[in-house]
Symmetry: C3
Subunit: 198 residues, 3 copies
């Protein structure tokens, strides 16, 4: 395309044209053919996005991220620097004779879904097969081994839930199963272990 | 500058000229305009240094590091491979409509200070707003959530203090609140929970 | 060599010719002079391989890996994305005057050995001086501070042994000190705390 509606830094390698308008892709980043990227995204330096990854609109991907086949980021997701995605719970070198059998089919493959508005902190590790709930925040350096609830804050290795966060990102303080965000004013209620906006 | 007193690898992108003499910047590294780097530093491959980062003299930055706005490294700091700096405790995609309000001002921003002679181990995570004390060593893979003391050794997720280190880097063994480094001979005394050279 | 038997992506920097046939090296990767790489390896984007690293045959190295002097990977090893190798237990900036003495000799240097068929998960940290046993699997985000047993599964920070894995990669379930892999049928026996194929 002579005049694409998105920006690609001169040192980036972009092999797909399935990129929405106003998206920007920065230096030394490599996007493979077969990737889909929505509108108004920002993808930092030194990223690698593999065929089969799907990225929604308004997504921010900081530097050094590698998104493999099977990773889907819904709209508005934030991926901090160098988050670790995976798509195989028990990887071996496929070139290792003892492991050839496991790689003859695609059964090893486990997709990852990051839902609307969620945040993945710097250096977080997301194990294959996990779903991150809407507006969930995964703390920096956390190792996520299970699905996470919407609006939850999870940290540690392995990641455990430590609290709740607002749509706008701030930590919430609950009183009698209710919370009001001190930044944006959004109200929430906890019911049956799940937080919902009211 | 036709003949700068510092070295830039042909594949690096360096947009600032505020770089001290004898500093070397290696392959595929991107240094933005507005960065300040002192003398006699070594900055490895695949780094990204954002406008607003400040780097002193005699600093070693191993490969794959991303230094964002608000990160200040004093003289003699060692940054191991792929250390994770952050500058926002509750990040969201600024492109997410529900989070726009939080990014209209700069209140989300928290600077990070790494003081003279400190070491940040491989893959350590430094949360926004933290100060790392002089000659402190942060262990590989540690997640630092609070300020650290001078000469302290901190490891784990979250990082806790496990001991003390010498200016030269070696671990110290204290006997009756005193220690002598077996490598360089420096003497220390512990008083009121803080270690000082004597 | 005009027609090497291995593949180098046009954006990669490869300064060694000690590379075996059918090995592929991908975008923005930098391999220094003095590196040895075997046959039939796959080395992803944004890697850095330092002089003195040794890589066997049939090794898979995912994106963003940095292999320093002293790292040896035996045949069939899998290195997940952005694994952290180190070669100094108590690093300081060698440019820091207080640490000059420690870097006048090579005593700071500790090599790392990853044995046949082992797996290092995404974002794992391997401390200097460690040996990873044959077919061991290091979980994503684990921080390995000690040698690991053959066929062991280690996870966490610090990494502890949580179970056993088969040559083919799958987790094993032991009954009365014996196991049969549900994927490849390999049988094992536990004796004196070590697992062996039978």
């Amino acid at each position: 395309m002579a005049n694409p509606s998105y920006y690609v830094h001169p040192t980036a390698l972009v092999e797909t044209t399935q990129i929405g308008k106003d998206t920007r892709i920065w230096a030394f980043t490599h996007v493979m053919n077969g990737v889909y990227i929505g509108e108004n995204c920002n993808i930092g330096d030194h990223c690698f996005i593999e065929k089969g990854a799907i990225i929604g609109n308004c997504v921010t991907i900081k530097n050094g991220n590698m998104l493999f086949e099977g990773v889907t980021l819904e709209d508005g997701v934030f991926v901090g620097p160098h988050v670790f995605f995976t798509n195989d719970l028990y990887p071996r070198s496929p070139r290792l004779p003892e492991a050839h059998g496991r790689y003859e089919t695609h059964d090893w493959f486990k997709p990852t879904l990051v839902k609307y508005g969620a945040t993945l902190g710097a250096g977080a590790v997301i194990l294959a097969g996990v779903t991150i709930g809407e507006f969930c925040t995964v703390g920096a350096g956390a190792v996520v081994t299970h699905d996470t609830l919407p609006y939850s804050l999870v940290t540690g290795n392995p990641a455990l839930q430590r609290g709740w966060v607002c749509k706008c990102g701030l930590k919430l303080r609950l009183t009698e199963s209710q919370a009001v965000c001190t930044s944006c004013g959004q109200k929430y209620r906890l019911s049956d272990g799940r937080l919902s906006p009211v």
